[in-house]
Amino acid sequence: MLLIKCPYCEEDLPEIEFSYAGEAHRQRPRDPAQLNDHAWSEYLFVRDNRRGVQCERWYHVHGCGRYFNAVRNTITDKFLITYKAGEPRPGDDEIAEALK
């Protein structure tokens, strides 16, 4: 199973302590009532579903109980970086470095 480094607990921990929480950095519309159907359905349903390196969220449900972000390669399932909620998405340089 995957070993995931929770950035709060600062430990590599087994996947079954965590719950996958979808793509990271998705901004919930501030006023959904102002959106048309197309825009609202884009937010609700449409995803990048990236084959390759993606930023995603995980929830440490059987641990510290906090959400955090991760950069993972969805082809190899290898985690490159994990970072705390609220921190910015790692830049391309940082990801390239982690890929080495």
Binding site: M1, L2, E15, I16, S19, Y20, D37, H38, S41, L44, F45, V46, R47, D48, N49, R50, R51, Q54, E56, R72, T74, I75, T76, D77
Partner: protein
């Protein structure tokens, strides 16, 4: 109008089976050729799984379009078609689903004869177990909905369920007691590889080009935005229409046309046991305890699990998912506690928010998509092939697949089959 070249394919019969046996089965002709791609086709299908090959077959045999190529990045049938647990049923909840899955069952019935290829369709029955009051309510609701739609489905007591499937334990002290079950007798299994091979052989005989080991790397569009062809490992191939039938890799292909879809691709694992003598007469599925099981004609138990929880294209998942399924199997069928598992693997399932497929047009002119079958595409193979072929040929969906469109996610007409999908996501 240019037609595909036709090749002569030896029809299987008892006579030529006997004749070939005399030469040690060393002289069978190839089942389908490996042609070079032509410069252009009327229709290019991306993905040579059961759905893509079925689409090509029906385009050529039923809808009069033979200038067709199916382009596949790997080997035909090597994706989810080669990795599923072979279950075929039509006991979904909503009217739209009843129509499409029953259309598949109707086509399954005559498929071996039509393709002159034994797909080993076995109507051994599919039983869905109820373990709680809630299970009973949901399952009975499905049964009533099915019967109102002319889909035969019946309720069995625990005792009747055990009679239908003797290895089932209905002990009241079991961790997951069986309180009853739904049985669709007309449902069952087929040999997944044969379906791919049968459609490939049939399509090739009608002049369809199947181009394997040729990944599509781009979708070229004209000035008006309509598709004009695909970029591939073997160069540019022009096409008047493109039908994408790439399952878990659909988002990858559609991105080449600038489209994002309501899809997430998850690993779905399955495994087979060591082969044993026939002991399991039907298919049994348990939604609540995440296990579905049947026995192949080779004697192996074929077991399927829940999806792994994260988006992945690795075609692998983790062991704890399989352990969870095996725990359920040991409890439900104690006779299998000492079975050894021989082989496990994973596929990539493209899941939609309502667990129903998308078969139809896209916002890009000339580009059509058949995707979102998630964990349940194999059972629909003939219907998906037929309906996607209709849609490609006519440029508009058939009545049966019209509700399964991209627009429903905007308009709200979702077809929520999460329960009927019977695989935990």
């Amino acid at each position: 109008m240019a037609c595909g070249r036709e090749i002569s394919v030896l029809r299987f019969s008892a006579l030529n089976l006997f004749a070939n046996a005399l030469s040690g089965h060393n002289n069978w002709p190839e089942q389908w050729p490996s042609p070079s791609p032509k410069a252009s086709y009327d229709v290019v299908i991306v993905g040579a799984g059961g759905h893509g090959l079925g689409t090509a077959y029906y385009l050529a045999s039923k809808y009069g379009l033979r200038n067709v190529a199916v382009i596949e990045k790997g080997w035909l049938g090597g994706g989810n078609t080669g990795r599923n647990t072979t279950i075929i049923r039509s006991n979904y909840l909503y009217d739209e689903s009843a129509r499409i899955y029953d259309h598949a069952l109707d086509l399954w019935d005559g498929l071996s004869q039509e393709l002159n290829y034994n797909v080993m369709f076995s109507k051994r029955g599919v039983m869905m177990l109820a373990h709680s009051v809630h299970d009973i309510q949901i399952i009975k609701r499905h049964i009533h909905a099915n019967r109102l739609n002319g889909v035969a489905n019946e309720w069995l007591s625990a005792e009747q369920a055990q009679k239908f499937c003797p290895p089932l334990s209905i002990s009241r002290t079991a961790r997951f007691p069986v309180l009853g079950a739904a049985l669709q007798r007309r449902a069952g299994t087929a040999r997944h590889d044969s379906v791919a091979w049968g459609y490939a052989r049939g399509a090739a005989a009608l002049g369809v080009d199947i181009i394997q080991n040729c990944a599509v790397s781009g979708i070229r569009r004209g000035r008006d935005g309509a598709v004009i062809g695909v970029e591939s490992e073997r160069g540019f191939i022009a096409a008047k229409k493109i039908g994408v039938s790439a399952a878990g890799n659909t988002s990858v292909i559609m991105e080449m046309a600038g489209l994002r879809l309501p899809l997430e691709s998850y690993p779905l694992q399955a495994m087979v046991s060591e082969p044993v003598k026939p002991v399991f007469p039907c298919v049994v599925m348990s939604n609540s305890v995440h296990a579905y099981i049947s026995q192949s004609d080779k004697g192996e138990l074929v077991l399927g699990a829940a999806t792994d929880q994260y988006v992945s294209y690795s075609q692998r998942g983790a062991l704890h998912v399989l352990e969870h399924t095996l725990a359920a199997v040991c409890e439900l069928f104690p006779v299998f506690k000492r079975m050894r598992m021989l082989r496990s693997w994973g596929g990539i399932v493209d899941v939609t928010p309502d667990r129903s497929p998308i078969i139809g047009k896209t916002p890009v002119a000339g580009l059509f998509v058949n995707c979102g079958w998630g964990t349940g595409g194999f059972k629909a193979t003939p219907a998906a092939g037929d309906l996607f072929a209709y849609t490609l040929a006519r440029g508009e969906p058939h009545d049966i697949n019209a509700p399964f469109n991209l627009e429903r996610f905007e308009g709200g007409r979702l077809i929520d089959e999460a329960a009927a999908a019977a695989v935990a996501h």
